[in-house]
């Protein structure tokens, strides 16, 4: 049987991509193509030349997307999916998870508990939306990561200041105001890794600051995978379309809430505390998808 052909598209080789490359190198009968997204160009209106960048990816059974840029990743996924090439994750999943408004709608439509959220345009409607949620609440960019520009609004003064700054200084993406009720969490949130419909690891992200993101210095700790966490995480993953996902949970007084779902999981700080080889599991999932495509 011919080798599996898997491509990994990335921008930079961070710790995560290096661990994935190492995990792929241990696979037998697999050809790995490492593809720099800077090199990607493709015809949108007809067949590409076989030897070109797109032609290389077209020959692959599956493409694992690890670009840093959300919009670049979505564009590549859209092109590849239109050719029938399976990507991890699918373009629609990337689009949903990369847009907090769409994530919230998807979770809510699926009945997955999530913090009360509102959206608005402009300062006057934004202030009405803030006060409808009540203080404190949190304003987030609809597209963003690593806790960037996530702001807690404790009172009307703060709300007026932040919304005015967004209106005056922000680009088009900041014209959509996305608001969430602030959840008073116990010094940590939970991050669960769901790969192929299975919850494989959960960490707590503990920080003295209310933003509990390991990219912002939160410390990861192992958390047991309870039936409740497992069921909620799998439901959240299904709600956004499935694949390989990192689900963020908040432990509220009313129970667990799904805060966000991330479609390009970062796991460097989660392997040690959990003892789970997350990159190996992501590679195993990628290989399983590739095998199903080779046989298809």
């Amino acid at each position: 049987m011919r080798p599996l052909r898997v491509a990994m598209v990335c921008s930079r080789v961070r710790v995560e991509e290096k661990l994935l490359l190492e995990a792929f190198s241990g696979q037998h009968n697999l050809e790995l193509v490492r593809f720099d997204d800077d090199q990607f160009h493709a015809s949108l209106t007809g067949p590409d030349e076989a030897g070109g960048p797109a032609g290389i990816l077209r020959r692959c059974d599956v493409v694992l997307l690890r670009s840093l840029s959300h919009f670049r990743q979505v564009a590549i996924a859209r092109v590849l999916n239109s050719w029938g090439i399976v990507t991890i994750n699918r373009a629609e999943v990337l689009e949903i998870c990369g847009d907090k408004l769409r994530t919230t709608l998807s979770l809510s439509e699926a009945g997955v508990p999530t913090p009360a959220s509102r959206m608005a345009f402009g300062v006057p409607a934004g202030l009405e939306a803030v006060e409808a949620l009540g203080y404190p609440c949190v304003v987030k960019p609809v597209t963003g990561s690593w806790g960037r520009l996530v702001s807690r609004l404790n009172d009307r003064d703060a709300a007026e200041a932040v919304l005015e700054h967004k209106a005056q200084l922000g680009g088009s993406l900041h014209r959509v105001i996305y608001l969430q009720r602030h959840i008073d969490k116990p010094g940590r949130d939970l991050r669960a890794f769901v790969i192929g419909g299975r919850t494989v690891a959960v960490i707590g992200r503990r920080a003295s600051h209310w933003v509990t993101n390991t990219a912002r210095g939160a410390v990861a700790e192992r958390v047991a995978i309870t039936d409740e966490v497992d069921g909620l995480c799998r439901a959240a993953a299904t709600a956004v379309g499935g694949g390989a996902l990192a689900v963020d949970l908040l432990e509220s007084a009313e129970g667990l809430l799904v805060n966000e779902v991330n479609a390009t999981m970062e796991f460097r700080n989660s392997i040690g505390p959990t003892g789970v080889d997350i990159p190996a599991l992501l590679v195993a999932y990628t290989v399983a998808v590739a095998e199903s495509r080779r046989c298809a």
């Binding site: 991509e17 840093l68 959300h70 680009g171 390009t264």
Partner: protein
Amino acid sequence: MTPAERPLEPACPECGARFLLPAGTVDGEILPCGDCAAELEVVTADPLLLALAPEIEEDWGE
């Protein structure tokens, strides 16, 4: 000098410091300069070509 300790040439484009390329370094990897802490991108490991890593952009992340 072991094969894993090839001198980093050219030096850090920010501060000029030279240091040893860690074993197993691959194209596209990000390394911090030990002297000035600038993030460096290994454009190619062989031949060695270094550049300052790009600043974080608005849509980067998970």
